[in-house]
C-alpha cells in the first residue's frame, strides 16, 4: 500500500513538471487534469470520499472544460520567450 502511494505521488509530480514544460497549451491542460485525477485517488486513500468526489468532478472535469474554452478563444501555443 505504501509502495502504491509512492508511485501515485511520483506520477502526480511528473505530471506537474510536464505541465510546466509543455509548450502546447492543450497538452499542459491535459497534464493538469492528470494531476487532479491522481489527487482524487489520493484523497480516497486518505479516507476522504466527499473530497475525492468533489476533486474528481470539479478538478478533472470542469477545470479542464473552462481551460479548453479559454484556449479556443485565444492562442493554442505558448510563444517562444524572447531573451530577457
Amino acid at each position: 500500500m505504501i509502495v502504491f502511494q509512492i508511485v501515485l505521488l511520483a506520477v502526480m509530480l511528473v505530471a506537474a513538471i510536464s505541465a510546466a514544460v509543455f509548450k502546447d497549451l492543450m497538452n499542459a491542460v491535459i497534464a493538469c487534469a492528470l494531476v487532479s485525477l491522481v489527487a482524487a485517488i489520493i484523497f480516497y486513500f486518505l479516507q476522504a470520499p466527499d473530497v475525492a468526489m468533489a476533486e474528481a468532478s470539479i478538478g478533472a472535469g470542469l477545470t479542464t472544460g473552462i481551460f479548453i474554452f479559454a484556449i479556443r478563444r485565444t492562442a493554442r501555443r505558448e510563444e517562444d520567450e524572447t531573451s530577457p
Binding site: 502511494q5 509512492i6 509530480l13 506537474a16 510546466a20 473530497v51
Partner: protein, 119 residues
C-alpha cells in the same frame, strides 16, 4: 520505513506547491500562469486533507456496517477543502476571462510583450 509513511504525503504536496510556484514565477504566458495557480491550489488542498489523516483511521461516515473500534479521521479539514476546491475553480474561471479579454485587446497573451505595448 515509518519515516517515509509519516512524511510521504507532505513531501508530495510541498513538491506540487513548489512546481506551481515555479510556473507562476518564470513563465510569461498568462494561461500557463493560471495553470500554475491551479496546481498550487491542488497542492494546498491535498496538504490540508493529509493533516487530518490518522493512521488506520476510517472515513467520517456512520454506516450500519461500520467497523467498531477504529477512530474516524478529522472531518473539519475535509469540510474546509470542499469549499476550497469550488473557490479554486471559480478563481481560475475569473482569471481565464481576464486572459480572454486581454487577448482580444492586445492580440497576444505573452505578459512581457503586453508590458512593452503599454508604452
Amino acid at each position: 520505513m515509518s519515516f517515509v509513511a509519516d512524511y510521504l504525503h507532505y513531501t508530495g504536496c510541498f513538491g506540487l506547491v513548489l512546481i506551481g510556484l515555479y510556473i507562476v514565477l518564470v513563465k510569461s504566458n498568462l494561461i500557463k500562469i493560471v495553470i500554475g495557480i491551479n496546481l498550487i491550489d491542488t497542492g494546498v488542498n491535498l496538504f490540508l486533507v493529509s493533516v487530518g489523516y490518522i493512521q488506520m483511521g476510517t472515513a467520517p461516515i456512520f454506516s450500519e456496517a461500520q467497523a467498531a473500534g477504529r477512530e474516524m479521521v478529522d472531518p473539519v479539514p475535509q469540510a474546509l477543502v470542499l469549499t476550497a476546491i469550488v473557490i479554486g475553480v471559480s478563481v481560475a474561471a475569473l482569471a481565464l476571462s481576464v486572459a480572454v479579454r486581454l487577448y482580444e485587446h492586445y492580440g497576444t497573451l505573452d505578459l512581457s510583450r503586453v508590458r512593452e505595448l503599454k508604452w
